[in-house]
């Protein structure tokens, strides 16, 4: 094999970057051609990614990596490079595929927007950065792209900059994820100083931490792992840094699908998977990951039950699903996590794009104002339904297989984690049922001007729906192909029947209850809210987390800033002013001395000489 596609993997992010450059250079003038440039750019990446992926599947080739020196300081070298492994090639396909579909979809969705070419430029930049992140062979390069995708997310969330909510959401998205980035940055610094030869590349990290009783002590390992996890928590919207993700729904819906469901938010999971040996070397870190993941899964799902904004429900669902992935990682199953990431990317993108289609048609995001859309928006309804089933973990849809893998892995580790996961799955099914039935079933609440979206939007839905059905079969309990491909190990036996039964049962139960409440009406809708209003209210207000942060962090910080400001004005600057003032006071004293009375002058002089004489002569006696 003289050349392989992998050697050209660096081109994958370059295509969208080129698209970004062209779009930026063209400026506003590219309303018509702009989208096409974006689409072609991502298409090229998709094709190349598929080639790489197929190449790896057929040959099962060695990992390919190549790096150049980015920065040399004295004897220290920092390099930048890319690496193609099975894991990265999988991610490449996911990212390019979703990105391509979203590009196509956006051409319809954003048709009427003035700044459509800017939108496509941002998306291209994001895609490029995300691909760069995926391809990075070392943590520093990874971090660089990690931040870049954050910025793109920020830009796209705030795309409709004139909306105050969008502005606030963009700001929040950036700042909250930055908290996580901080952790990652410190972890990076720690790694740099503790790794032999200051190596930061994943291969070396893998080797160093996989060696039992390695060079780095357990304490430091735990610290590094936890700090990396903080980064992942920020990016993947895990508790307690999840608050930005639902707010980020202020961005255009295709963005929610691309960035805040399928790709960027999964980067946290990808990060943990990439640096998994560090976590494996520390039990504490693993436990933390698992607990946080499980807690986030149930926590976000429970909030999702009480939301009314279609995108927010999906956002909390994303948070919850990312929690599942973290849980999987925490219990040691990289393949389950990646599997869920893989399937989730498709069905969640599908759901978001579907939601976008709904919003496009219904001109509202509040599910209480919708209803009966299934009649007018048939394709949307069908594809959305498939996505919902996939998410709810109903076989044979993709979500079932991956969620099942996670639950099985959890059960292997700890019963409580499994229980939590199962309950969360129940919630998931319930809120999806509520969402689906409220939106598509029942009578139309609007004046019937809802209409099906154009084909440029529905075709991606259909493609994603198909993927949501079939994607799960790459790794069933019966044939763990994906896991083997990813980890290079023999498939684990996670296909315990109990798990499967429980998983399907809670899913169906959730849907059934949802059906009872929202379609059949056997149970009153306010059955819970009338009995436990506080509970519902707490859920609606997302456990008051935002308020709590505002009270505990934002407000004190602002007051502290004001106090510091006052300190700066009155103390630091005050001392300066005081020095100036006392100097001129001395001058004024002198002016007063110059009273015009010559005898006073002489007296002053006399007193002066006496004091001087006494002081000089007298200092000997003290």
């Amino acid at each position: 094999m003289s050349t392989s596609f992998a050697e050209y993997a660096w081109l994958v992010p370059v295509f969208p970057l080129a698209a970004f450059a062209i779009l930026t250079a063209m400026g506003k003038g590219a309303r018509k051609t702009g989208p096409w440039i974006g689409i072609i750019g991502t298409l090229a990446s998709l094709v190349l990614s598929l080639c790489i992926a197929f190449e790896r599947m057929t040959d099962n080739a060695d990992d390919y990596s190549k790096s150049i020196e980015w920065l040399q300081v004295g004897s220290l070298k920092l390099s930048a490079g890319f690496e193609v492994t099975n894991l990265t090639s999988l991610m490449l396909v996911v990212v390019t595929l979703v990105s391509f579909l979203v590009n196509v979809y956006s051409q319809g969705y954003m048709r009427d927007d003035d700044r459509i070419s800017t939108f496509f430029a941002y998306v291209a930049l994001f895609t490029s950065s995300m691909l760069g992140l995926v391809l990075s062979d070392n943590l520093l390069t990874f971090y660089i792209f990690w931040e870049l995708v954050g910025v793109c997310s920020f830009l796209l969330v705030g795309f409709w900059y004139h909306k105050p909510e969008a502005k606030a959401a963009a700001k929040k998205a950036f700042i909250v994820t930055r908290i996580g980035d901080l952790g990652l940055l410190i972890a990076l610094l720690l790694l740099f100083w503790y790794m032999p030869d200051h190596a930061l590349d994943f291969t070396t990290i893998h080797n160093v931490f996989s060696t039992p009783g390695g060079v780095i002590s357990v304490g430091i390992t735990t610290l590094i792992a936890l700090l990396i996890f903080v980064g992942a928590v920020g990016k993947s919207g895990q508790f307690p840094l999840h608050t930005w993700l639902p707010d980020a729904m202020e961005g255009p819906t295709p963005i929610s699908a691309l960035i805040h469901a399928a790709t960027m938010v999964a980067a946290g999971v990808f990060l943990v998977a990439r640096t998994f040996p560090i976590f494996e070397a520390s039990d504490a870190a693993m436990t933390t990951v698992a607990v946080i993941g499980a807690f986030t899964a149930i926590f976000a799902a429970s909030i999702g039950l009480a939301q009314n904004d279609i995108k927010r429900i999906l956002a909390y669902s994303t948070v919850s699903q990312l929690g599942y992935m973290m849980l999987a990682l925490g219990v040691g199953s990289v393949s389950a996590a990646m599997f869920h990431l893989f399937t989730h990317a498709f069905f969640k993108a599908l759901l978001f794009l579907g939601a976008g289609s709904v919003i496009h048609g219904a001109h509202t995001q509040d599910i209480r104002e919708m209803g009966g859309l299934g009649k007018t928006m048939k394709i949307t309804a069908w594809t959305f339904g498939i996505g919902a089933l996939a998410l709810s973990g109903i076989p044979p849809f993709a979500g079932f297989w991956s969620k099942d893998a996670i639950l099985a892995a959890a059960l292997d580790k700890n019963g409580i984690l499994f229980a939590v996961g199962a309950i969360a799955a129940f919630f998931t099914a319930l809120y999806m049922a509520r969402l689906y039935f409220l939106v598509f079933a029942g009578k139309p609440k609007q004046d019937g001007h809802a209409h099906e979206s154009p084909s440029v939007m529905t075709v991606p839905l259909i493609v994603l729906a198909i993927l949501s059905v079939v994607a799960g079969f790459v790794d069933t309990p019966f044939k763990g192909w994906l896991g083997e491909w990813l980890t290079g190990e023999a498939p684990e036996h996670h296909g315990s029947g109990i798990v499967m039964v429980v998983s399907v049962a809670v899913g169906l139960l959730g849907i059934y209850i949802g059906w009872l409440v929202y379609v059949k009406g056997t149970v009153r809708r306010d059955a819970v809210s009338s009995r436990a209003p506080a509970l519902v209210r707490t859920l609606e207000r997302k456990y008051y987390i935002d308020e709590l942060y505002d009270l505990l962090i934002v407000k004190p910080l602002r007051s502290f800033g004001k106090a510091l400001q006052a300190f700066d004005d009155y103390i630091v600057d005050g001392v300066v002013r005081l020095a100036g003032y006392s100097t001129s006071a001395l001058g004024r004293l002198n002016s007063r001395l110059q009273s015009g009375q010559v005898q006073t002058y002489a007296l002053t002089a006399l007193i002066g000489i006496v004091i001087l004489a006494l002081a000089i002569a007298g200092r000997r006696f003290w």
Binding site: G596, Q597, V598, Q599, L606
Partner: protein, 102 residues
Amino acid sequence: MTMLASYLTLAAVLFCVGLYGVLTKRNAIVVLLCIELMLNAVNLNLIAFSKYGVTPSLTGQIFSLFTMTVAAAEAAVGMAVLIVWYRNRATVNVDEFDELRG
């Protein structure tokens, strides 16, 4: 040496009286006179040293002659200035010399 000491004491007293006068007297002419008094104290000193000093010499007396001459000239100028001022302001009260201040 007692002689010298007493002269020196007298001179010191004169000097202080002169200085006191300069500092306190309201009449400008008296102030000028008091300066003369201070200079005369110096003269007394010089002459005393000239006669009773460690190494008596004529120099002290010569010095005092110069001093007297100079003092006279100074007094003359002082008076002249005072007259000009009196012409402008019709007073010789030192307290009222306060146009320049601040």
